[in-house]
Amino acid sequence: MILIENLSKKYEDKEVLNIPKLSIKKGEKFGLVGNNGAGKTTLFNLILDLVKPNSGQVLNNDIAVNKSEAWKKHTAAFIDESFLIGYLTPEEYLYFVGQLRGVNESQVDSWLEQFQVFFNDEVLGQKKYIRNLSKGNQKKVGLVSTFLGNPDCVVLDEPFANLDPSSQIRLKDIIKKQIENHNTTFLISSHDLNHVTDVCERIVLLEKGLPIKDLTTDSDTFGQLEAYFKA
């Protein structure tokens, strides 16, 4: 699904990311961990062609992301609030994204029913603009929008941050269900080792822009990661 080769990014001569090779299979649940400044968001921005690499390239389904825009058809992402349109209501926003992915309004409406518990009656039908929702509810709108039209590849940066504990658990269930039903490839970064080991089958640990560990999740993984971050 995603193939990264010799990818590097520098900001003013300081290398913030250097990945010789990284391959993510279709349907893989890929987790990315690392302290602040390790390069997690930079990697996602490179995968989404939001920043220009200094060398190397990212292939998404054999499409070089900086050469063609065809990968956008099967990829969805939520990185931060710059992925939300503040002056729309959540419904209008989801209709808009739906329109871009070929899902019409009534389809969006019936599709949204499965997220009622997740939204907890605080998001839909509130007659509020997204900019006036709480941070947590804004995040829910952005996260849910990435599942619209069931894209093959979903990129989520820190999806658990800003969510209350119930919502974090519900989000995990939603992600798992999405994987089960649509074999979606997930790329998730998180500071929450518990959640990320729970959801992801493979975890890459970044340190100062370098992938220093590539783990297949098993019962030891959480302990291994904890040991690393304690040091």
Partner: protein, 467 residues
């Protein structure tokens, strides 16, 4: 840096202009209307100046409550913070107009023989009214009801002026004349000022909690149909969003107001002999009447979407589609303003021809130049924060300044060439022809502009991420 120098120069230019107007106003009025008492005519003019000032304040003056939030937790007494806010609100271009405009007139009046005490009282009253307006706006900020009722009042007022003998501006002028003859009346003006200051103080004080006046959540959703756009697929979806952008955010609403003012630009140019006979001025007028929106919106095109640019760049859409929807928006504005400007027919069909020629040029050439210049305008914008009048460094940069040369120069050039070689109405028809050619080649041009946008993609994203 260069932009700052330009702004400073522009500010000085404006300052000198207003001063000159203040000094010259008295003599101009005296010369043009030698039979009527000069000061009462000036007073009538001041009535309209206040009216315009009041409406402009509504659109441009920042509500102070938005600045309170960062102060609220600091260990400073509320009283001090509120007084500080109220006093700081005086540092505002609007509050300098009395000094720039009315003070010179007062000085000229003294030179022309008015007792200085009378001129002083006259000026003091005007100063008080300005400051009263400054605080009055605190209470009505953000209220659409105010705007609507103001327009209703103005139209009712104009009806009264037109159909009866009653006249607001004449009575206002008479009132001012009475006030300046009665020094004691200063107590009235100053008293009102003090009163409104106290009211503003209490108004802010009761709203000094995060969940009251300072809360931003009180916004109601402005719901308009746009259902008809549903039938236009993806393009319709973009246009729907753009219309919501225009109506639901403070910055774009200012552009709409500006567009409305531009519509009446012709009244100035088509009626004054000085301009009516000057072809270049008429070309400018024809550009502005229908091109106001295209000019002010188009040159900042990616900026309007800067808050969610990351979304647009990762969604399933192309620059070409994005630009096409922007073009349709600008085109609709040209067509709507053209229909609205049909009242220029009253002045004669020639003037409507001029407006139409400008509209077709704006559709086929102007809109593209504006979109093109937007590709170089990588300035993040806070959509729901009003631009402060004349301190808007965001929308001002050297590239945009350079772009005004083709924006205004090209139509003038086209006109003058045709006018020189053929004469008659040829200049106007030349604008129509070149505009139509632009409309026909729209797809080619948009493809080209899309390439320029996409080559600047990373730079734009980087600039916008500093929002």
């Amino acid at each position: 840096m260069i932009a700052k120098i330009f702004i400073a120069l522009f500010g000085i230019y404006l300052f000198v202009n207003i001063m000159a107007l203040g000094v010259g106003a008295y003599y101009i009025v005296e010369k043009v209307f030698p039979d009527e008492p000069t000061i009462s005519l000036i007073n009538q003019g001041i009535f309209f100046a206040f009216l315009i000032e009041f409406i402009s304040r509504y659109f441009f003056q920042q509500s102070p409550s938005t600045q309170v939030q960062s102060w609220i937790l600091l260990p400073i007494k509320k009283r001090i913070i509120i007084n500080n806010l109220l006093l700081r609100s005086l540092i505002n271009l609007f509050n300098f107009t009395p000094w720039l405009l009315y003070f010179p007139i007062a000085v000229v009046r003294v030179i022309e023989g008015t007792p200085w005490i009378t001129a002083f009282i006259w000026f003091a009253h005007l100063l008080c009214i300005t400051l009263i307006l400054n605080y009055l706006i605190f209470f009505i900020n953000k209220s659409h009801r105010f705007l609507i009722s103001t327009f209703v009042l103005i139209s009712m007022g104009s009806g009264l002026e037109y159909y009866t003998d009653f006249s607001f501006y004449r009575n206002f002028a008479l009132g001012l004349e009475w006030l300046e003859q009665n020094p004691i009346s200063l107590l009235l003006s100053c008293g009102t000022l003090v009163l409104i200051y106290r009211l503003a103080y209490h108004y802010l004080k009761t709203r000094f909690y995060l969940d009251m006046g300072l809360a931003k959540n009180s916004e109601k959703v402005l719901q308009l149909g746009f259902a008809f756009l549903g039938g236009y697929g993806r393009l319709g979806a973009f246009l729907k969003n753009d219309l919501r952008l225009l109506l639901r955010n403070a910055r774009p609403r200012q552009i709409l107001l500006l567009t409305f003012f531009f519509l009446f630009y012709g009244l100035l140019f088509f009626t004054m002999d000085m301009y009516k006979t000057n072809a270049v001025m008429l070309v400018f007028a024809s550009m502005f009447i229908t091109g106001g929106f295209s000019l002010s919106y188009g040159q900042q095109v990616p900026s309007w979407d800067s808050e969610y640019y990351g979304l647009l760049m990762t969604q399933n859409l192309t620059y070409r589609e994005y630009l096409e929807s922007k073009w349709w928006l600008m085109a609709s504005s040209v067509i709507i303003t053209l229909i609205l400007s049909s009242f220029y027919l009253i002045l004669g069909w020639k003037f409507f021809l001029i407006v139409t020629a400008g509209a077709i040029y704006n559709l086929g050439i102007g809109s593209f130049i504006n979109l093109y210049s937007g590709a170089f305008h990588r300035v993040p914008m806070k959509l729901n924060v009003k631009a402060k009048a004349f301190s808007n460094t965001q929308a001002f940069n050297v590239t945009q300044l350079l772009f005004t040369i083709p924006k205004l120069g090209l139509p003038v050039l086209v006109f003058l060439i045709a006018d020189f070689f053929i004469g008659g109405y040829a200049g106007w028809f030349a604008l129509i022809i070149i505009g139509s050619m632009g409309i026909i080649t729209k797809n080619l041009v948009l493809n080209h502009i899309a390439k320029i946008y996409s080559s600047g993609k990373y730079k734009t994203i980087e600039a916008f991420s500093k929002n």
